[in-house]
Amino acid sequence: MAEPVVNPDGPMGQNEGGDATRRDFIHIAAGAAAAGAGVMVAWPLINQMSPAADTLALASIEFDMSKVQEGQQVVIKWQGKPVFVRYRTPAELQKVEAEGAVGSPAQTDAERTKAGHEKYLVVIGSCTHLGCVPTFNAGEYGGWFCPCHGSHYDASGRIRKGPAPLNLIVPAYEYLSDTRVKIG
């Protein structure tokens, strides 16, 4: 019996020889649309892990510099990270200024502070190597020493020895008054 069992051209029209391209087009288009749908679905699933609007809106903080004693530092928390506010002694200040541009990248101390407020240094207290919090007043350069992998920073927060690739990062901040700073 002659049953029309299957499409004589084959289900995809592939048995018809030279005409295949045109016949395949619709299947390719359907496949492409399916792939496009996959990408469109994937995007929101990936993007949802980006910082949320409330995280992005995290407030800046204000800080009163007069709370820091000479030769000491105060650690404050800003956007989940420690920030070092250091009031340097005249001897420390003289030393870091005399050294000129050092560290990585080479920077003078003046490039890392605000004019008129040179004695205060504000840096993010997280080692540029792998993120540990460096210890205050330790290491060979009298600044900070990172206990995790032995990076030495000077009193200007510049990397002088050890595996850390960069100087301690100076966050964006401004003086609102003579003693009040706004970080962020």
């Binding site: 049953e3 929101p44 993007n47």
Partner: protein, 432 residues
């Protein structure tokens, strides 16, 4: 079908290497070439649709769990944060919330298809039973998930449903306290519900693998309902790919159009406004109703005047499905050839809708306002209470009485000898 031989021949050295160690390509190819009855209609596409539904729920659920906080003081706010602050969070949450309803629409149609075409009958009893397990797990998962946003309906739904367990004589009360982790629904309850809501979908996934394994072993049913003889296999089947991948794919897209209309244009239509009120253990909403997909079972629960009896009836309504393969005495699978049973099936369909409708009404409210009525035992005859009872009785009679009885008494129509017969031109069919 059942004893279908693998036709995969690895061509390259790499394929041969892999095939002897992990024959995953062979597995995929065998599935793609699976001989599938050529007469499957669109009712058979709900299996594929359900697979997509499950994946959608699992993936969006994992994403939501990254942002959700299972704590009574923070759960509601964390859901609102998902809706407002998480990039695209509103979309993911609405897909997950409406996805549950879509899942149930698809599963009910899938079950009704199985019921109509006798897909539960030998040799496919295990496919059906595993399917019933999946359905039960789906209800549990949906219930647990509905508690998580910690709105008023979440809280009071959890209160009412866990109290069902307390209806069990003697052991009910201690089990209830154990289940809740305290004398009332509280933080401990929310935490364990979250944990279980995360777990159960993977149990469902495992059951789906068993469901498909059983399907592969017994072979697919088809609208005619006859088994395909070995010598007819070539003529009566088509390879799954591309014939049924494209058919399922098309149905899935149509299904997603409906899904998208809900998600983007009416995302809260299937929910209840009270669930946007944070849970308050001191105030009960005026009218507690479960989600629509539980309404028929909720109606059966309320139809029985005794608390424990109601619980038994509700679980029996699901439990009766498990023994259905042995209740049906008919030799014929498809109701296409069982006109008597078909009529009862259509009534059953209306009864199910009716039960769902009743589940959303106040039991004492009149069905036809203003119609004269009289008191029957414990309520007006013209009330949803009594309508629910009549419908509940039919629900059970359909399975327990009609299934065995009609199978023995009815005279089925003539069944085609092959599944090709009804689809081929008459002259061809006559030759066969």
């Amino acid at each position: 079908m059942s004893n279908h031989e693998s036709t995969y021949v690895p061509k390259t050295a790499v394929e041969r290497w892999l095939d002897t160690r992990l024959p995953i390509v062979r597995f995929g190819m065998d599935y793609a070439n699976l001989p599938t009855p050529r007469n499957l209609n669109y009712w058979w596409t709900f299996g594929g649709i359900l697979a997509i539904c499950l994946m959608t729920q699992i993936i969006t659920g994992i994403v939501l769990a990254m942002h959700y906080t299972p704590h009574i003081d923070m759960a509601f706010a964390s859901v609102e944060r998902i809706m407002r602050d998480v990039p695209g969070g509103w979309l993911i949450r609405y897909v997950h919330a409406n996805g549950a309803s879509m899942f149930f629409i698809a599963v009910y149609l899938h079950m009704l298809r199985g019921l109509y075409y006798g897909s539960y009958k030998a040799p496919r009893e295990m496919i059906w039973i595993v399917g019933c397990v999946i359905f039960f797990l789906m209800i549990a998962t949906a219930f647990l998930g509905y508690v998580l946003p910690w709105g008023q309906m979440s809280f009071w739904g959890a209160e009412v449903i866990t109290n069902l367990i307390g209806a069990i004589p003697v052991v009910g009360e201690p089990i209830l306290v154990w289940l809740r982790g305290g004398p009332a629904i509280d933080n401990a309850t929310l935490n364990r519900f979250f944990s279980l809501h995360y777990l159960l979908p993977f149990v469902i996934l495992g059951c789906v693998v068993l469901h498909l394994w059983a399907l592969h072993a017994a072979g697919q049913n088809n609208p005619v309902g006859i088994l395909i003889p070995k010598d007819r296999e070539k003529k009566d089947t088509l390879p799954f790919h591309p014939y049924f991948t494209v058919k399922d794919g098309f149905a899935i897209i149509l299904f997603f159009i409906m899904f998208a209309v809900f998600v983007f244009y009416n995302p809260n239509a299937l929910g209840h406004a009270d669930n946007y009120i944070p849970a308050n253990p001191l105030v009960t909403p005026a009218h507690i109703v479960p989600e629509w997909y539980m309404l028929p079972f909720y109606a059966i629960l309320r139809a029985v005047p005794d608390k424990f009896g109601g619980v038994v009836a509700m679980f029996a309504a699901i439990g009766v499905l498990f023994v259905l393969p042995w209740l049906d005495t008919s030799k014929v699978r498809s109701m296409r050839y069982r006109p008597t049973m078909k009529t009862f099936f259509i009534i059953f369909l209306f009864v199910c809708f009716g039960l769902g409708w009743c589940g959303a009404q106040l039991p004492d409210a009149p069905v036809v306002p203003g119609m004269p009525s009289f008191n029957l035992i414990d309520g007006q005859l013209n009330s949803y209470l009594w309508l629910t009872r009549f419908l509940t009785i039919y629900y059970f009679v359909f399975f327990i009485v009609l299934m065995p009885l009609v199978g023995l008494k009815e005279k089925p129509l003539l069944i085609p000898a092959t599944i090709s017969e009804p689809v081929l031109p008459t002259t061809e069919a006559e030759k066969v």
